[in-house]
Symmetry: D2
Subunit: 383 residues, 4 copies
């Protein structure tokens, strides 16, 4: 164990120095992070220039170790902190790479209990990198340092192993557009319901309508996109257009197995959005099983009345707080909107390759048979 820790200290506006602090001990509910990378943010520049009134009217609490964009590896973590600091409820351990969440929460006041993760804590303790002074032990309350000390009540976001530190260090600045565009989509919501960027989307059906939804999900920033359908011909096209997984119902013939496969792909919680694009009413039961709590299920393939199904509304809809929305068509305004999107994305996405077969008017029957065979995607006539 090392004796001391180097950190940059901002004594006040335009004053920076490199100081040494003692290597700290952690408590049951705190943690020590070995910093890998720490960003310089606009706020740091404001602070350096002496423009130091933060939201809520809080001045910078000099001397400060700046740095609130921090990625590092947990070097030491207390027993309680292991269970409390992970934002997804996961247990954290030494060796985990994490992004430090700058704000501290008491979890007891009005705002912590009612404002769901926004940092308006009434027992304000500060933010790493600007709201906490390094005067007092254990000092290491900023990221421009070899180590950062995570106080009780901190949150750490575990970094997936695929993400290197150079990407993870950008997490904090990207949480800003994440909030901004979520707000632009759902102005009165901070909770993830409805579609948000990064969401997992299951598309039931691999025909042209299913494919159009896949391409659209891709365009709007979906995370995983799982296409369930048949035959292989169509699923290959789905992969080409960016499906992250496909499930062939000719191979995985038991609906329950398909549900299991989707759950396995979605942290056992189910997909955020499931879209029925099959035309078969039975798909509704299967799709609702694949949906997460508070998820959105949209039925769009059942344009034609194909009969009834047996459905348990309590288990499939109520007990999940599900949203089920039927969409049998479109507004006339949506045509111009789609043409604008084609214009923007046509160089990036080969929409026209969806057309796999072209026929003359004289070939009506051949065309129809090809369309019915499903060994095709979009079939068109060229008069």
């Amino acid at each position: 164990m090392r004796a001391s820790v180097k950190a940059i200290v901002m004594q006040g506006p335009y004053q920076l120095s490199l100081n040494e602090f003692p290597y700290p001990k952690i408590l049951n509910n705190s943690a020590l992070i070995k910093v890998e990378l720490a960003g310089i943010c606009g706020t740091d520049k404001h602070m350096y220039k002496g423009e130091i009134i933060h939201p809520r009217g809080i001045p910078a609490n000099f001397p400060i170790i700046p740095g609130h964009e921090v990625v590092g590896v947990i070097e030491n973590i207390g027993k309680e902190a292991k269970k409390e600091m992970g934002t997804l409820g996961e247990t954290l351990n030494e060796g985990d790479r994490v992004v430090v969440i700058p704000a501290l929460y008491c979890k007891k006041c009005f705002y912590c209990k009612n404002y769901y993760g926004i940092s308006f804590c009434e027992h304000y303790q500060g933010h790493y990198g600007w709201g906490l002074t390094c005067k007092d032990p254990p000092h290491l309350f900023g990221g421009w340092s070899e180590y950062l000390y995570a106080l009780p009540g901190s949150f750490l976001a575990k970094v997936p192993f695929e993400i290197p530190p150079e990407v993870a260090v950008l997490t904090e600045p990207f949480t800003v557009p994440y909030m901004v565009f979520n707000k632009a989509m759902h102005p009165y919501s901070l909770v993830k319901e409805g579609f948000s960027p990064g969401d997992s989307v299951v598309i039931q059906g691999s025909g042209p309508i299913g494919l159009a939804h896949l391409i659209f999900a891709k365009i709007i920033g979906a995370g995983q996109i799982i296409v369930i359908g048949r035959p292989k011909y169509r699923l290959e096209i789905a992969k080409k257009y960016g499906a992250t997984s496909v499930i062939n119902i000719d191979e995985v013939t038991d609906p329950q197995d398909r549900v299991e496969e989707v759950l396995k792909l979605t942290d056992k919680r189910g997909a955020d959005i499931v879209i029925e694009a099959t035309g078969y009413p039975e798909a509704v039961n299967e799709g609702l099983e694949m949906l997460r709590i508070l998820g959105t299920y949209i039925i769009v393939g059942l344009y034609i009345d194909m009969g009834e199904i047996r459905l348990n509304p309590q288990r499939k809809i109520v007990s999940k707080w599900a949203h089920v929305i039927g969409i049998p068509g479109q507004t006339y305004q949506s045509y111009a909107a789609v043409l604008k999107i084609f214009k923007q994305y046509r160089k990036k996405i080969p929409f026209e390759e969806m057309i796999t077969h072209v026929y003359k008017l004289e070939e009506a029957k051949e065309a129809m048979n090809k369309a019915l065979s499903e060994e095709c995607m979009k079939v068109v006539f060229k008069p």
Copy 2:
């Protein structure tokens, strides 16, 4: 002028033939479209197989010329139709390439007046390709034909000249996911407010926060993305990450000129979404000028109190039905959400190249000066 028109006729389930019809005359408020391409849709297949009850319980009205996914060129259009048929209020002319909107609207009934473009018309006339029989003149009410006759009350979506017919013919199937994902974003809205795919986004500010918004806008399917900032160094990075236009405030120094440039890029109507990411309060006035009616303005760069501005709330906010939203931070849950997006998109987007400079802790002043110079994007410390 030709004497006859060839078209495929579905006489009933499993019955297809190629027939000839007379070349029709148009009226003041109708039009004739020379079909370029016409798709076969799942609905056509249902109809062919005799599964023929459409939404609203409407049976197929045999004999029918199928085809409601139609792109073609206007060969002849009546004087009134020129002004009425364009969905964007534009005047249509002979020679224009258009996509035919299948539903017909009386524009007088309860649903036409109150349901904004959804086809629940109480004086239902039918849809091209399935709801209108070809028994009666002028017969040509489907797309699997050399010509389609657009009745009074039809809408035609003009195709931008960049879009070839092979892409335009896919418009109708893509309007379905357009409705679906809009609904998933804004469940209680059919009108375009808030962010929707294809929207134009102006980002005021070209620093790391501005760039994060640009990348995010790209991920979620924005249409045009216009970045306004300085210096050239940063705007080049913005272009690399996909800005469709950049405006350099060192070159276009008059704010009114910048407003004009944005208006020019957005059909004179202004951008759908404008995001302030500058840190300068003066940007608010300029940004609001760039916003379209019913647009959304989000202030996110003003994290630090930089003082007052002069603002005309009537002209800038009220008279535009504007939404103005302030966002000074993020929830702790948003960190994990961003990491998931990084994981999904890291192969496609080189997030890490946003980091242009890396410093040691010993180089605090050099790092800070680089950050202040703006000849950089994200600057980080590597302890």
Copy 3:
């Protein structure tokens, strides 16, 4: 027929006179309204004081007959206008009492086609009472007059016969809070989906949970509230708390008859919101039949799993664009919210009278039997 019409003319700021104009002839697509009452609005006062720039930068077009808050009786209406001017698609006739909608719409431009009833018409003709001068014939373009001339393209809102002119004249000022609070509820929507004040609400179930929904619907400004349940004892309580109609399932035993009754009560279009509060899964099919197009169906009574039903998802959900939402519980924060509402409304609503029976702990069986009998509402123990 009278020879002349008296009207107040504002020649310019601070200039008012009483003038005479010729009694006008109407066209096929125009109408003449005999004014009953016409309000003075803040805008009129601004105009009088010379503060005359309206939204969109439009100056008052003097000389003007002021008055855009107008109720009157149709004295004469053209054949086409009869079908075009009613906002609900109804046919208008001489003798109908109407409120005049001040804005004019060309119905052809971008805004008229895409902004759903907001008056941003690009071929702006003006508003009654300020945007149209009375210089030109037929002159009568304001409400401070014996007659108002409704130009082609005008909309007239028909006044229900229960509303006297003294209430109807207030329609225009009340459309403002109608927009405001709808916007506050659904910021990104101008179309009526989800709950809006005045909506019709059907509550399936007359037990305590059904009653709580009835009282809540009342508190939040529902229009009609139709309670469907049994026995008479409970439906009487429902009426006491403000149900506008009750349907006793012991009397109307055929579900289809109950559906018909609801449709009859809701202009044949179905209810805006239907809430399942019965605990019986079969209610779901019946409730969905009662729902209007784009309506919202919320399942809340199926807290306990009571099995499956047969359901046609195309006919019941998709073809209606229905929203179906399951709610099996509540957040912990909702308790304090309800207590605040109790505090506000307890003098107006006798919540405590929902408790019809109080038992001691020693009387557990009697209490349970009473609760099971349904000849009670809320039963409580007092230890």
Copy 4:
């Protein structure tokens, strides 16, 4: 201290008995509630009849003390529990009347951290009254008992002193419609943004438009409604129509004092919704000061351009996460919607009394002077 506690025990379906349990000791983070009233809920009846599968597939854990609708008085509460159990962040004490929230939360798992108060806890401990057996000490886990033992992690909603137990015991059943109608208004939100029933509304301006908003706020279930305006004549009318407080700007002349008064009336947090209905741009600054964090500010009175103001966008908008929405008009469809509301509410609300003065066309100047005097509400002409 008493030796024993009586409670009703459900041993299994159709089995009820009255048992005695030892009076329990509490811990630092638990509490004991002396029950005043406890309801019988539909769930209790299901359990009694053996229909016992709750959401999430949880069977009733017999033997059980039923009762999850519980109001009582805190008899004993641990030191930590005092700070943790209140849902509004308030400190609880012996003698406080509280409603018991049935669900228990670990506060550490994925759902507790990400689903904001919905009880999907992954370390499920049970619900009072059905999910916790009374086999194990301290036994008292249901409300049909003299005492209920609140385990660590419980939440208690403090009852305002105005609410008697007979009303408070109904809290739980009313949280259901609270969720339902909030969901119907904001389908993708569990957090209180935008308008929700019970919200505090400030209306700046006491003219006819301000009054229309007051009446509308009343109709839609607002909580406190604070009207700020002048002169006394108008504020008296506001009180008659249900304003819960009025602030006379002729008396409270300093804007900062008015802000203080509003904050005092709204738990120091500011109003949920503030509506500008004055026509004076200066009101915008004052109104934004009165707004709570994440509140909605709607500008509707600035129909006419009355010039600029000085505004600090960071302090007034950004640092509060405020929504600011401009509304300069209404859709034509809103007229019929308002008339429907008039029809529904005309017997309850004397809308027509808003008209305080009626003039003939010959009296234009008198009418205008009266309107300008503000010693009136709505002034109308009767031709």
